[in-house]
């Protein structure tokens, strides 16, 4: 049968943001898949390099709406490390609280999106309704449902009153009941299981080689979580259990995220019940000394890396963002091999793709309009040439 090319994207109901899969199918079976991800490039790294830290913080926060606190906290703690500023304990714990609430709302959102991708709209409606508990809580704590603006260099900007603490605990206890319900639901609902079990296999060794992170990797048995293995904020003091699954398929990733919902609730409750007293922020200087720092954070989608280089001024010299979704794309290409069209939205949704976080640059010849990408070796050679010319390195 002749090969048929199915353009999934850049505009497609399965995708919430633009990405392009050129899928070649034979009947329903997928023969080949080509991935193109540069549709959402906004130049944020460049924008952050031209702005003072206090302003760049707000720009970095808006890389993603769902992981906004992840980006802001990661950047803030990187700059604080370079400046040598220590955030007071209460500030760290409040950052952790918002981080776990963000993980909760992100995973509940993802649960709904996965349900929608397989036509299970009732579960979509229920999970998003339950997510409103978290959204209302975040709104009370920070004033916003997304892009919380909780961070400042040196700590956080808003404190929690005792009444708000009590309301938060009450909301989380209600949600814990729902989390238990969803944990049972995914083990019992047959139509959900037939669409996710055995689909999108990613064996553990392949997950490691392809650089998968977060629940995508943990769903294949890779036991790595930045919160436990490179602790930041309050994670050194708060008990945390890292959830993994040996299923190594879409169901494994689903299972990991649902159990992480329960674990995030536990962590958030622990933080609320044991919140230390004291200041919420320390004073940070205006400039940062020369240095470079790699800041890591466990975002809801996986390991988020910010590379920051400062040069003694009040602006960063270079900010490079490696988001978890960028690391997970190759595992999609691998996991979809040999499956059918109906599995595409499921396997893509299983890595929890956040395309606003993903886009890399592409090279466009303005004369001919040709677009191209660089191979790894060419990129390394280009980088060496560039820095040799611009910074007179040997």
């Amino acid at each position: 049968m002749p090969e048929v090319e199915l353009p999934i994207g850049p505009q497609h109901p399965a995708l919430k943001e633009p990405v392009s899969f050129r899928v070649v199918v034979d009947g329903e079976r997928i023969v080949r898949l080509d991935l193109d991800i540069s549709y959402n490039h906004r130049g944020i790294e460049k924008g952050a390099e031209g702005r003072e830290f206090t302003k760049a913080l707000y720009l970095i926060e808006r890389i993603c709406g769902i992981c906004s606190h992840a980006h802001a906290t990661n950047f803030a703690k990187g700059i604080e490390a370079l400046m040598g500023v220590e955030v007071p304990r209460r500030g760290q714990w409040i950052r952790t609280l918002v981080a776990e609430l963000e993980r909760l709302h992100s995973h509940l959102l993802w649960l709904g999106v996965l349900a929608h991708e397989i036509g299970y709209n009732t579960m979509f409606m229920y999970t998003w309704r339950d997510r409103e508990t978290i959204q209302d809580l975040l709104e009370e704590i920070s004033g916003n449902r997304v892009n919380y603006g909780m961070n400042r260099l040196g700590g956080v900007r808003r404190d929690l009153s005792a009444a708000l603490l009590a309301r938060a605990l009450e909301g989380l206890h209600r949600l814990a009941e729902r989390a238990r319900f969803y944990a049972e639901l995914i083990q019992e609902e047959q139509t959900l299981l037939v669409r996710t079990r055995g689909i999108g296999r990613l064996p553990r060794d392949r997950a490691i080689v392809l650089g998968a992170v977060g629940p995508t990797a943990r769903g294949s048995g890779v036991d790595f979580d930045v919160r436990r293995d490179d602790p930041y904020a309050a994670y050194g003091d708060v008990p945390l259990q890292v959830m993994t699954s040996d299923a190594s398929d879409v169901f494994g990733r689903l299972e990991v995220r649902v159990r992480e919902i329960g674990e995030s609730i536990r962590v958030a409750v622990h933080v609320l019940e044991n919140l230390p007293s004291g200041d919420i922020a320390a004073k940070a200087p205006r400039t940062a000394p020369k240095g470079e720092y790699v800041s890591r954070y466990e975002a809801p989608r996986g390991e988020l890396v910010h590379y920051i280089r400062t040069n003694g001024t009040d602006k960063a010299d270079r900010v490079s963002v490696r988001t978890p979704t960028l690391a997970n794309w190759l595992s999609v290409v691998e996991a979809i091999q040999g499956r059918v069209i109906a599995d595409i939205p499921v396997v893509v949704a299983a890595i929890d793709p956040c395309l606003s976080c993903t886009s890399r640059a592409t090279f466009v010849d303005t004369g001919t309009g040709d677009r191209s990408a660089m191979e790894w070796d060419d990129l390394v050679a280009y980088g060496i040439r560039y820095y040799r010319d611009h910074e007179r390195l040997p």
Binding site: V4, P13, I118, G119, N121, V340, A342
Partner: protein
Amino acid sequence: MNVVLLALYLVVFPGFLFLLGFAWFAEWWDRKLTARLQDRVGPPLVQPFADFVKLLAKEDIVPEGVPARLQAALPLVAFAAVATAFLYVPVVGSSPFGAPGDLVLVLYLLTLPTVLLFVLGWTSRNVFARIGAVRAATQLFVYEVPFFLACLGPALAADTWALGDVVAAQATGLWTVLLQPLGFGVAIVALQAKLERTPFDIPEAETELVAGPLTEITGRKLAIWNLAKDIALVTGAALLVALFLGGPTVPGVSVEGLAGTVIGFAVFLGKVLLILVVLAAIRAGVARIRIDQLVTWGWSVLTPLALTQIALALVLKGVGWP
């Protein structure tokens, strides 16, 4: 029935005009139920009619190389097919158009829209539409056999191929659903597959194939197609009511004249809405399955169940029941 009454039956009630209103009401009922089951508010009563009017006003875009007249005609043919099928279903008593063998005619007319959907998708010059059309045709082969077999059961029990006589047999006896519950279950599931609703909305899997065979259909064509879909929903439900739930009759009760007609219609309406509740619960309660899973499950579970029901019905017939 004299010509005037016949014309009124055809055009006003329960013919064309009533059917339009009933189809839109049924769509609203289905959408409102689905919403309430999902803890949402749901659309107001006029929503399906408003959607229809809005689509009529939209631009009718036809891609290059697509047979425009064929694509404009197909929704109309589908509408005509299902509307005609409804005329044979007993609504307030036997249909005046009823004849021996009209069950087969109704089943045939209800099959037509899926075949037309295949043609619509195949001629759309769109890869999503083409794959959706192939899926629709594949699905047709899976559910049509169990559906026909399940509808055969009540005909066997009543010893007739005429819908009116099947209903009349239940008016003096038991509802078929009590004698053939398995067949009723198979018929409900197969009807859900015929109507391409979750878990069987595979041809039009929105997250996989945009809109399946209907991807390139816009404006008036889409409005008429949606109307045909709604009428198919009502006709399918009414057919099951006639075959399994006794149509507009209540066993043992027989009221003459206008009162009888009104009561008959109310009974019919109640039963159809009940069937729609079941269909809505199925639609909201499960996820979509894959086409290969449907093919496997259909042939390994649904068809054997239908065959079992036929065997049981034959056995019952053999011992003199009902």
